[in-house]
Amino acid sequence: MANAPAAVSPAPAMSGGPILKMTGVSKRFPGVLALENVHLEVGPSEIHALLGENGAGKSTLLKVLSGAQSADAGEIDLFGKPVAFATPYDAQRAGIVTIYQEFTLAPDMTIAENVFIGREPGSRLFVSWRRLAEETKVIAERIGLKRDPMTQVRDLSVAEQQLVEIARALSMRSRLIIMDEPTAALSETEVANLVRIVRALKAEGLSIIFVTHRLDEVFRLCDRYTVLRDGHYVASGQVAETNVEAVIRMMVGRDVGALYGERPIPEHGKVALEVEGLTRRRNARDPNAIELVDVSLKAHHGEILGLAGLVGAGRTETARAIFGADPFDHGTIRVDGKAVRFSSPRDAMSHGIGLVPEDRKKQALFLSLAIRTNMTIAAQAEVSRGWFIDESKEDVLIDEFRKLLSIRMASPEQAAGQLSGGNQQKIVLARWLALRPKILIVDEPTRGIDIGSKVEVHNLLIDMAKSGIAVIVISSELPEILAVSDRIVTMREGRVTGEIARTKATQEILMAMMTAHESGVAHVSGLSGDIS
């Protein structure tokens, strides 16, 4: 406890053989085989991509490796010695640290306390705050975290919190860091920063297992890869010797074809939603809230409007203000030409507006409740007789959407938490479709779901627009924006910075629009902002 880990010295370069070798790992849950005879080898100073669709067994494999679960069969060799971890603590002591998607930081404690939690430097009884700060600073500087070690974690951005997690891993002198979807919640610039840091760690001799759904990152960053599918080992090899199509084929087990095919921009109908001069000033009660400045946009019936921007650009805030989930100071919202102002989501819903929120698990799903409740909670009137739920009506509705959205589920009584990410997202979409909305805002529709489901969700959005719904899609993934939108509006720092037709847009143009400084005009076509 008192033996303070000093600043980490780079791990000695391993000569030859892999530092980690998992062979024949199998894991069975009651009635289910989660892993069967899986292999994984990671070399020294290697960034290893672990790939597979949701449900392929990545998480289970990583849990076995990090001591969170035990395998039924198989061997793990670390630095040539067989090991078996009963707890995550064992794995950490052996040099393996896992950084999960959901961070494990204590928000009200300082950076330094979080980094050295449980291992604070000092005497047996007392913590030495001076050494705690100094040692944190040394590690923080290595990974470019430019914050006072005594800052509360609560005040950090998501990207900075991630750096604190990495700092903690380094403080434990880990040799192998497992990162589970580290880029899912980061903006493009933050991803670039993380890539730099991961490369630097590699240069120091650490190895990293990198789990991601974004294949471009694999080709940008990783040295080798291993692909799992349905709990089985499929292949591994050098990233340089393969390509995106081949990897997708391995993951999906079939040709997905062109993921994003050509699609003409459809004719759209009348203006469904018009937002004019939406403004929310900074206020004392919530100083961290993002400001909105004079946001104006239009969405037409039968059209998909893409809302692009970096994290913190104000896209989600705009959506929530329109939906009545957050208040705003001034601005006009018109639905089908009529000025409205919603004081609650309930209000917005009664005018035919739906919102699929950004964070599926925290804001949309009732994980412990049945699919039944999850699917019809917003549209209870559709499946009720007076004050009572009519379960036979409800079953008809559930069955309709199960088929329409091809949702894979055992029964309506199953808890939503047991479904895969893709199926969960479809449940949320079904919840809103059941209300037959005129306007549907979808925030990050495919975050954290696998490629197959992604394409399905995109096609669903396109079908919704075809049926006359005005669909607004918010996404941090530019390929997604380009795949589904008919028209794209970009935002930056709470302002609209431009508007462009999908046929004219490319990732590069959008990126420039999203990062350009805006010159004061609300609506700029293309790129007229002056870049200062």
Partner: protein
């Protein structure tokens, strides 16, 4: 893991731990009853069993209300105090005013049982509404609001009664606590009827689904168009209703109301709900579980009394059982959901 296969496994129902987790309180109750029946044959007599049920009925009524509260991840510590306060108001109404408190016997001066019951329920509703208001408008956590209520209502009861009991009601009043329909005590019928209605509300009504949704994920509930504040408010009002109803039945059973009535009831009531499998984190639980939990505690106490175990030891046993029951529940659930 493959979701499809997981789903298939769930479907086939090979899930032993799932079954145990679901029916653990019931199984435990059966085992306990068998045990007592073997040790003390008197336990199984009809008189004794109805006796147990009558004792359970007051805390059981409160536990039915508490289930609504705990389903929204709330808590109500004020039920014992509210029981005393509302009971005194009912008693005063039945006696036709505080000045008649010492008139013993069956003098026809009061306002009758119906007015008394209405008064008790009105007090319960009002106090529940007040607490709900503080929770939803002032944003004070339920634990703190009802801790305040626990003290304030007890104080109100003492103030109202000036410290002394109010007793001696008409037979039409005491029938609600002491009477029988056939062999079944009236309080037991009230308790089971209330439980049945609550079960129907939670299981089959739109409102019931909304209660689970608010408890399961308040933010998601709000974004799904539910009026979260109104639903949270409503569960405290429901709790108040049951406290009012319970206070009336209790006063009728004891033929007396006093300011120290219901002391410590909050613990028994919350324990009944929790032993019955309702999660303190909200969103999971059933009225059936609560009924079983209430009976379980009653059976345990009764069995210990029949075995001449001292009341001090009874308290220790109850404490241990509460912890063990929840520990077992957690264990069985974790075995089931290991994914």
């Amino acid at each position: 893991m493959s979701e499809a296969r997981l789903e298939a496994a769930e479907d086939r129902g090979v899930d032993v731990f799932g079954f145990i987790a679901r029916f653990a309180p019931t199984l435990f109750l059966i085992v306990l009853m068998l045990l007592f029946a073997i040790i003390e044959p008197r336990f199984l007599s009809q008189i004794n069993l109805f006796n147990v049920m009558r004792q359970v009925s007051i805390t059981g009524l409160l536990a039915v209300g508490m289930t609504f509260v705990i389903l929204t991840a709330g808590i109500d510590l004020s039920v014992g105090s509210l029981l005393a306060f509302a009971g005194l108001v009912a008693a005063a109404v039945a006696k036709g005013g505080l000045e008649n408190r010492f008139t013993v016997g069956e003098g026809g001066v009061g306002y009758g049982w119906f007015a008394a019951a209405l008064a008790a329920i009105a007090v319960g509703l009002a106090c529940g509404w007040l607490q709900g208001l503080a929770i939803t408008r002032l944003k004070v956590p339920p634990f703190v609001v009802t801790l305040g209520g626990m003290s304030a209502f007890r104080g109100a009861a003492l103030l109202f009664a000036a410290g002394g009991p109010i007793s001696g009601f008409q037979p039409s009043f005491t029938w609600w606590g002491q009477g029988k329909i056939g062999p079944v005590p009236v309080p037991v019928i009230i308790f089971l009827l209330a439980a049945l209605i609550a079960h129907v509300v939670l299981r089959y009504m739109r409102y019931g689904r909304q209660v689970y949704a608010v408890g399961g994920n308040p933010e998601a509930a709000r974004l799904s168009g539910l009026n979260v504040n109104r639903i949270i408010m409503s569960v405290y009002v429901i709790m108040g209703f049951f406290a009012g109803l319970g206070s009336f039945v209790l006063a009728a059973r004891l033929n007396s109301a006093e300011a120290v009535a219901g002391t410590g009831y909050e613990l028994t009531v919350i324990a009944s709900v929790v032993i019955g499998g309702t999660s303190l984190f909200g969103g999971a639980g059933t009225i059936f579980g609560t009924v079983i939990g209430s009976i379980l505690i009653g059976v345990l106490l009764n069995g210990l009394v029949l075995m001449n175990v001292s009341s001090y030891i009874q308290q220790i046993v109850i404490g241990v059982i509460i912890v063990l029951a929840v520990a077992f529940d957690t264990f069985a659930k974790s075995r089931r959901r290991k994914v």
